[in-house]
């Protein structure tokens, strides 16, 4: 957890074209200059926790930040590479589109949030809600991730070499979650799934890209049970009663149950959900082709 790692920082990608000292240059001036650059390697020193460092990069440049950064570092990132020798606060690489963002220390909440592409590597730990609403980004975390990571994830891969805290993948649409350590608990509609050759290939590729060690066979895979895709009309009461976590399509046959019966069926739902997750695991080979269909938004919207 120490922010200073014993390992020597990797060599710079090329000769430094320019060094920005944030104790002398304003953040706006620096980001503007980075947006004008079309190539080269840029160093940033004395970030002292500034927000939005190297945000909005959209050309094939390298930026190396020496020190810890604040919120939204490398937000909306495209094409280039940003490396931070230090820690990052909330929203690291938020909405990354392509390219790579790498941090040598820890990231706090919502690292890689809503990312659509590219690679985010957190060499230390990531805090709560890592990869929240991820939409295609690949995230590799060398340490642990906090609670509710990959919340409402839609596409992409989250690879965790350490442990995942409670409610991993809560309300997940799609996306693949790989965890090497322990998972404190899975969120609603997130289930364990077997690892096939195609997933091992993905893991191999991401572990190699991240360079943090780990072998594909050490990981477990988690993903969506897809029971929240469609609104189940029988759950309307459960929704009102606030017990939406246990809703399941399997209750479709229990239409017109009395209130009392509904109460009983809520208990049954838990068992049926467990069964259904086992079923979905065993049926995997037929149903597991990564779905490209867009989930219907009815219930998820209501959850936000």
């Amino acid at each position: 957890m120490s922010k200073t790692k014993a390992a020597k920082p990797p060599p710079l990608p090329g000769p430094v074209s320019h060094t920005f000292d944030l104790s002398e240059t304003t953040l706006r001036e620096m980001n503007h200059a980075l947006h004008q650059a079309e190539s080269g390697t840029f160093a940033v020193v004395n970030p002292r926790g500034a927000h939005a460092v190297a945000a909005g990069i959209f050309t094939d440049i390298d930026v190396v930040v020496n020190g810890s950064v604040g919120y939204y570092c490398a937000g909306m990132h495209q094409h280039g590479r940003v490396r931070v020798e230090g820690n990052a606060s909330t929203g690291l690489a938020e909405n990354i589109m392509s390219g790579e963002v790498r941090i040598s220390g820890n990231a706090t909440m919502s690292a890689g949030a809503t990312g659509c592409g590219g690679l985010v590597v957190v060499e230390g730990n990531a805090g709560a809600r890592c990869g929240i609403s991820m939409k295609g980004v690949d995230i590799v975390v060398g340490g642990n991730v906090g609670h509710m990571s990959a919340f409402m994830a839609q596409a992409g891969n989250l690879v965790v070499l350490g442990d995942a805290d409670h409610d991993l993948g809560d309300s997940i649409y799609e996306a693949e979650l790989f965890v090497r350590g322990t998972v404190a608990s899975l969120g609603s509609d997130c289930v364990e799934k077997p690892i096939e050759a195609e997933h091992r290939d993905v893991l191999e590729r991401l572990l190699t890209a991240a360079g943090l060690g780990g072998r594909p066979e050490q990981f477990r895979r988690f993903g969506s049970a897809r029971t929240l895709y469609n609104f189940a009309v029988d759950d309307i009461d459960a929704e009102v009663a606030g017990t939406s976590r246990n809703r399941s399509k399997n209750t479709k046959t229990k239409k017109k149950a009395s209130a009392k019966q509904r109460g009983q069926s809520a208990t049954k739902k838990r068992t049926t959900k467990k069964q259904s997750s086992q079923e979905s695991s065993s049926k995997k080979s037929t149903t597991e082709k990564r779905s490209t269909k867009q989930p219907k938004n009815t219930k998820k919207g209501a959850k936000q």
Binding site: K3, R48, S68, G70, G105, M109, H147
Partner: protein, 320 residues
């Protein structure tokens, strides 16, 4: 939104400049709370002496007359040190009785804090100006907590500013909002706590004071708080000889902690901590949701572990 900072010295090295360092941290949190600010600063105090900090927001009272009346009531010596619209009453009498008398008998005053070690100042306006007006930078001490406020649910008044203190040497700053404070306030009033505002954070301060008075140590008090407080919160808490941090189990409100051999600092954002001497050698981590962190000078002087005496284990657990 609000910004909070806390700085706790583990060694005497930075105590003479504690106020200056706290002011630097507070300055960085201006953006998070530009409408009001406040700080509580703790020093080693004088044995047998209690300080009561009061605020006269709307009037200019005759401090000497109030001091004399208080001395008669307590049957003790009282010295008054006015500073702008605040004043510090120093007495060798019963501090809790002094607080209660000032609340009950002097309508124009709000009692901000009392205790052997604490002084507390707060005001509406630019946080930097608040720091200057009450000479934060010129103060020394062992630990301090401070707050910048962006009011969202109640008026911008000095009364609604943080920190809040209701018990001896106990105060807290809060980022978040409590949802069950009305119910809890009534419970606490029934248990003998008195409140001066409608503010949710004052209820949290009162809750801790009550638990400490009931015999809890700070860790047990915060463990109980996790059960009884409902809402969003990141708290930085000052107590006699100690400092504590607590976040609610969802942890929506930000917090970052850094620790060196000389100090522990906590803030809403790292950029406040980045101002401190020796920060490049600090251990930096995000406090876990629902986990209690405490540091105590008593433990340090007793020669216990030089690092944090966190309620569970050390702070090196991870960003979870």
């Amino acid at each position: 939104m609000c910004g909070i900072v806390g700085l706790f010295t583990k060694t005497p090295k930075h105590r003479p400049e504690l106020g200056r360092l706290t002011a630097l941290m507070l300055h960085e949190m201006r953006d998070r709370g530009p409408d009001s600010a406040g700080f509580a600063i703790y020093d080693e105090g004088v044995a047998g002496q209690t300080r009561v900090t009061v605020l006269a927001e709307y009037t200019t009272p005759d401090w000497d007359v109030i001091g004399k009346d208080l001395a008669i009531t307590l049957g003790a010596e009282v010295e008054v040190r006015p500073i702008r619209d605040h004043a510090v009453f120093v007495t060798n009498g019963d501090g809790r009785a002094a607080r209660q008398w000032l609340i009950d008998e002097v309508a124009e005053l709000d009692v901000l804090s009392y205790g052997r070690q604490i002084e507390l100042f707060k005001s509406v306006g630019d946080p930097d100006l608040v720091a200057v007006n009450y000479d934060l930078a010129g103060r020394s001490g062992t630990h301090a907590i401070a707050h910048t406020r962006m009011a969202t649910e109640s008026a911008v008044t000095t009364n609604g500013s943080h920190p809040f203190a209701t018990g001896a040497d106990t105060c807290l700053v809060h980022n978040g909002s409590l949802s069950n404070h009305n119910q809890l306030r009534e419970r606490l009033m029934a248990a003998g706590e008195s409140f001066q505002t409608e503010n949710d954070t004052e209820v949290a301060a009162g809750y801790l004071s009550w638990r400490l008075r009931e015999g809890d140590d700070i860790e047990l008090a915060l463990k109980n708080a996790l059960v009884d407080l409902d809402g969003f919160y990141t708290f930085a808490i000052g107590i006699e000889n100690g400092f504590a941090i607590l976040r609610d189990p969802i942890a929506c409100k930000p917090a970052v902690v850094a620790e060196t051999d000389d100090w522990v600092a906590m803030s809403s954002e790292y950029r406040a901590i980045a101002q401190l001497p020796g920060v490049n050698d600090a251990q930096v981590w995000e406090p876990d949701p629902g986990r209690i962190y405490t540091w105590s000078l008593d433990d340090l002087t007793a020669g216990e572990a030089a690092s944090a005496t966190s309620a569970t284990t050390g702070p090196v657990g991870g960003t979870r």
